[in-house]
Every structure is written in structure tokens, then in C-alpha cells.
Amino acid sequence: MPHIRIRDLQKHFGDVAVIAGLDLDLADKEFTVLVGPSGCGKSTTLRMIAGLEEASRGEIWIGEREVSRLEPKDRDIAMVFQDYALYPHMDVARNMSFALRLARYPKAEIDARIRRVADMLSIGHLLDRKPAALSGGQRQRVAMGRALVRDAGVFLFDEPLSNLDAKLRNQMRAELALMRKRVEKNMIYVTHDQIEAMTLADRIVVMHAGKVQQQGRPEDLYRAPANLFVAGFIGAPPMNFLPVRLDSRDGRPVLLGRDYTLPVPPARMAALAPYARRDIIAGIRPSALRQGRGPEGAPALTLHIELAEYVGAQSVLVTRCGGERVIVEVNSEQRLAGEGEQPFWFDPDSLHLFDPETEAAIR
């Protein structure tokens, strides 16, 4: 039984459809990440689930209740905002207890809950401070704590880490991952950062232009992107795309590019049948390309190395292949001595193929 069900959710601002009709099923206790570039409608979707934005059409079910016309307070949700949204005139304890005080919980119960959550987030020593006297990371924790003491059925996160600097963001991301193991709740998390999405999510929902592009487990999205957009969005550095044409050479089908020839993955042979002599986009991840000649019969690409960026354990090679830019990720230990033209090989099954018109994956 899905804990959150969204049916044909739409949002229009005047004539502009920001969300064109969204269907989602989120299982109970699942950590769902809505991810996409800015303007894709992910925040609007979250705000409609929260009740801060009114849906133009559609239904939102939380458990057995249709909530899309209810006030936020009647939806059994808690939310963490991008800019923390702490109450500046209340100290940390009062910020965290605001909802409980409104709901007239007994004082002992409020104190116990705050103590428990504050210990979990290690902010116990900050309880009598005002938000202005806290660092960005501390404010972030307090915002999280304020949501957690509520013990609501659904937790919503609106880009909670995007105001933090890179180092703190990585640290908080790890803590979030730990926290979500301890707090078994339905969580919906919005971000534009695909790394956050990959590391935190049970299920990723990739959005673009007000539509769901694909949803599934992080590894499924990475391994089998449903379309060109998801393929380019999930994974860093992003997937390389090479325009090719399905042709035959010596009676065997091949993918012909301008200065390169790629093999047809055996598993896709049937799916490719309607594409004879038509253009196709081939995609290959930077990490799928290996240096050298590879085993006998392995497909090869000759890449012209223009730049090697040393990142640490990994290095990123910026190369060219018949006019197309190709990014390659290599182990820094095995970095090539020379520059210029170098051979690379790959496993034919690591090729992704897309229809250039529909942009859908050819499987």
C-alpha cells in the first residue's frame, strides 16, 4: 500500500503549466528524492504536498486521506526549508517546541522530546541560543530538529543543504544518511544535486520541464536511464553522447560515426531493428572507457587527449573524437604518459542508445 499517492497533480500559473500532470506512488518509510535542474517543478511539487501551494488540479493522498484541499497543519507533515526558516526571535528550544506548544503538549513531554532530538543532532548545548548566534551548519541542524520533534508522518526537505559550503554539505549529507536510518519515516527530499540524490535516496524521481522523466532506485537510473535527459543528468562527470548511424559493414550491423565505429551491443540487436540506416545517439559513461587496447576483439576508440584534469584519486581527461567532446575518467595512478592520440576500449554492453527524436532509450 503506497503511503503517498499523487494523481494527475497539476499547477498552472496563468497559462503556464509548471506541473503538467504528475503521478507518483511513494511507499511507506521510503526516502524519495525529487531531483532536476532549477525550474523543473520539483520545489513546486513539494510545496503542493506540503500545502503551501495550492494544486490547480489533481489529488494528493497521504495514507488513507485525500489532503490536497487541507491546510498544511492538517496534513501530518514536517518540513525543512532551504533557508532554514527559523523563528529569529525564539531561542533554539522554543524554535523546536513551537509546534508542540501550539498543540498544547504537556511541558514534561515537550522537554523530553527536545532533549532526545537535540542529543541525536548534537545541538544540546545550543538550546538557549538565538538563531543569529548560530553558524550555518548549526542552523541547519536546528531546522532539522524542529521537524523531527514533531514526529509527523511525512518529512519534507526543500534543498536543505544548498546554503552550506561544500565541506559542510558533504558532512551534513552523511549525517542525513545516518539520521534517515534511525528515523523510519516517509521522507521527500528536493535537490538539484544529483550526488545528494544518489547517496540519500531509496527512490529517485528525475523531473524536467514539469514532468517526471524517470523514477526508480539510484542504481537503476544510473545503469538504465530511460531517456537522454536522465542519462545526461545522473552521473558525474556526465555521460558522453556520440551521434551515430545504424549501418552494416561486411554484413554485420555497426554504429557509424564521423571518425569512429561503434559495435552494436548484442542485447540491443532486436530493439534496433526499426532503426536501420537511421540516426541514433550513442551514450557512454566517462568511467566506462579504459585506456589501452583491451582484450582481443574489444571495441576501440581513438581519442585525442586535449587536457588532463587531476582531481585526486581520479583524473578527468578532456578528449576529442571526430569533432565530439568525450570525457574520460581514469585512475590517476595509471595516467597516460603521453598526450595526443591514444587508444581506448570499452565493453559493448556499456553503450546506451537513444532515439534522437523521442530522446527515449532504445532497449
Binding site: P72, K73, D83, Y87, A99
Partner: protein
């Protein structure tokens, strides 16, 4: 080099000098002159040399004068009443109009209008409105079959009538400042309160009002200082009457100076008024800084 450093340190004072000179001529000199005058007896039209030194006589006379104490009472009642009413009404209006509905910008502009009218004109407008024979208010009461109200002619009503006119003119001042403060509030904190289960009323009471309180406090202080100095509207409406029922201190000073021609006593009066306003201001500034230092420690 020390001399250059000294020069650098002197630069701000150099730029402040013109303003300081203006303040000295326009503010400090008249104040000192007024203090000097309050220890003398002098009539308009006679040469200043003819002024006679009388020591504390003017102040002694004031404290013994019943009219002075009546005037102090009227001034306090007027100032407190208008500030409380203006703050309550102004903030309430701002809360009502702090939303994006069609026509709100028109309402906002209309509400600010009274503030832009010259006080003399405000006095004339209300004198017309309050006119017991031809005024619209009396006509309206008559049309409803209700007895007329002696707006300005009854000692019991006059102060209230004067307060109404001032509230009408100066509520917009609180309103625009409160509205600006409300619109500067972080939208997400208010959304967070909605998520936390606060009703509209609770959001107003627990989040919005505490957050705009510092702005309201300053606006109220400015109004309080102004209320002690108001003159024109009351002068036009009642000239302080009937009896002494609306004779606030500034009007009392004006009458003492230009009707009774007792400039020394008038100066003593205005020095006392200055002292009252100064003490009030200092008290409020003190209260504010106390609260801030407490907030800083938390």
C-alpha cells in the same frame, strides 16, 4: 607619519562641520536663548536689554499655576490616547492589507493620504466635519433621527474629538511603517509556522508581531514625541477650549507667549516640555537597549 594620521582622523570632523554649524545656529542657540529667557521677564516689542532677571520666579509661578497642571494632564491624556489608538489601528490595518489581493495597492495609497495633508488643512477639514449645524456628521446623525453631538463645544467631548482628528491623520504613519516591516519578514518563517500548525491568528500573534515589534516601538516613539508637540490642528479646532479641556502644553506655551505676552514664562514652559520629551525619549531608548543586550546574551 603621525601628522598624516592626525589629518586622517580629522577628516570625518571636517565633513561633519557644516552640519554641526547649522545645528549650532538653528538648534543650540535658540535652546540656550530660551533657557536664558526663562530666567528673565521680557515682553515682545521691547528691546532685549530691558529684560529683567527674575531667577527661578517663572518656574515657581508655573508650578503653582493650576492651568499648567491641567495642561500637563490634557497633554498626557492626548499623547497616550493617540499613540495607543494609532498603533493598534495602524498595525491592524497593515495586517489586513499585507497580502496580494486585487486593489490593495489602491487602498494602501488612500490610507496614506491623510498624512500628506498640511495640519492646518486637517484642522479646517475636521472643523467642517464637526460643525454642529451644517457638518456632515451632524447631518448624518439628524438623518438617523439621533440627537446631535456637541463635538467641539462640550468640555467632555472636545478632547475626544481632537484625538479622533489626530488619529485620522497619523494612523497612516504607523500603517506604512508596519506594512513595510511585515513585507520585509522572511516568507519561509511564516510558512514554517503554518507547517508547525499555527492558525492565521497564531502566526500573527507569535511570529509576525514579535518580529515587527522593534519597528513599531520606534514608530510609536516618534509619534509620542510628535504628540507632545502638536499645535495646529487643535488650535484650529478648539483653540484649547472649551475652558482648558483641550489646552495641551504647546498651545499653552503659544498662548502664554503671544496672547499674554509673557515670554519668560513661555520659555520656562517650553523648557519643561523639552525636558518631559527628553526624559520620555531617554526612557524608551534605555528600554530598547536593555532588551537588546538581554537578547544578545540569550
Amino acid at each position: 607619519m603621525p601628522s598624516r594620521q592626525g589629518l586622517n582622523r580629522a577628516t570625518p570632523y571636517f565633513f561633519l562641520a557644516p552640519a554641526a554649524a547649522v545645528a549650532l545656529v538653528g538648534l543650540v542657540y535658540p535652546m540656550l536663548r530660551s533657557v536664558w529667557l526663562s530666567f528673565h521677564e521680557w515682553s515682545i516689542g521691547t528691546p532685549p536689554e530691558s529684560a529683567r532677571f527674575v531667577g527661578l520666579e517663572n518656574y515657581r509661578w508655573l508650578v503653582a499655576d493650576d492651568a499648567f497642571w491641567v495642561s500637563v494632564g490634557v497633554t498626557l491624556a492626548f499623547a497616550l490616547a493617540v499613540v495607543v489608538l494609532e498603533v493598534v489601528l495602524g498595525v491592524a490595518l497593515a495586517l489586513v492589507l499585507d497580502r496580494d489581493l486585487r486593489g490593495t495597492s489602491l487602498f494602501r495609497t488612500i490610507f496614506i493620504l491623510p498624512m500628506m495633508i498640511a495640519p492646518i488643512v486637517v484642522g479646517l477639514i475636521w472643523r467642517f466635519l464637526y460643525n454642529e449645524q451644517f457638518g456632515p456628521l451632524s447631518q448624518a446623525l439628524k438623518a438617523l433621527g439621533l440627537p446631535g453631538v456637541p463635538w467641539l463645544s462640550s468640555p467632555d467631548m472636545a478632547l475626544l474629538s481632537v484625538i479622533i482628528a489626530d488619529v485620522w491623520q497619523w494612523t497612516p504613519f504607523i500603517f506604512i511603517l508596519a506594512l513595510a516591516a511585515l513585507q520585509g519578514l522572511p516568507a519561509s518563517a511564516i510558512e514554517a509556522a503554518r507547517i508547525d500548525g499555527a492558525t492565521r491568528w497564531q502566526t500573527t500573534w507569535y511570529i509576525k508581531l514579535p518580529l515587527i515589534a522593534p519597528v513599531i516601538a520606534v514608530a510609536a516613539l516618534l509619534r509620542l514625541i510628535d504628540a507632545f508637540k502638536v499645535l495646529e490642528v487643535i488650535y484650529i479646532l478648539t483653540e484649547g477650549g472649551p475652558g482648558l479641556s483641550t489646552e495641551i502644553l504647546s498651545l499653552h506655551i503659544y498662548k502664554t507667549a503671544f496672547v499674554s505676552q509673557q515670554l519668560g514664562r513661555a520659555s520656562a514652559l517650553s523648557n519643561l516640555l523639552l525636558l518631559i520629551v527628553l526624559v520620555l525619549t531617554l526612557l524608551l531608548v534605555l528600554a530598547r537597549s536593555l532588551r537588546e543586550s538581554r537578547a544578545g546574551k540569550e
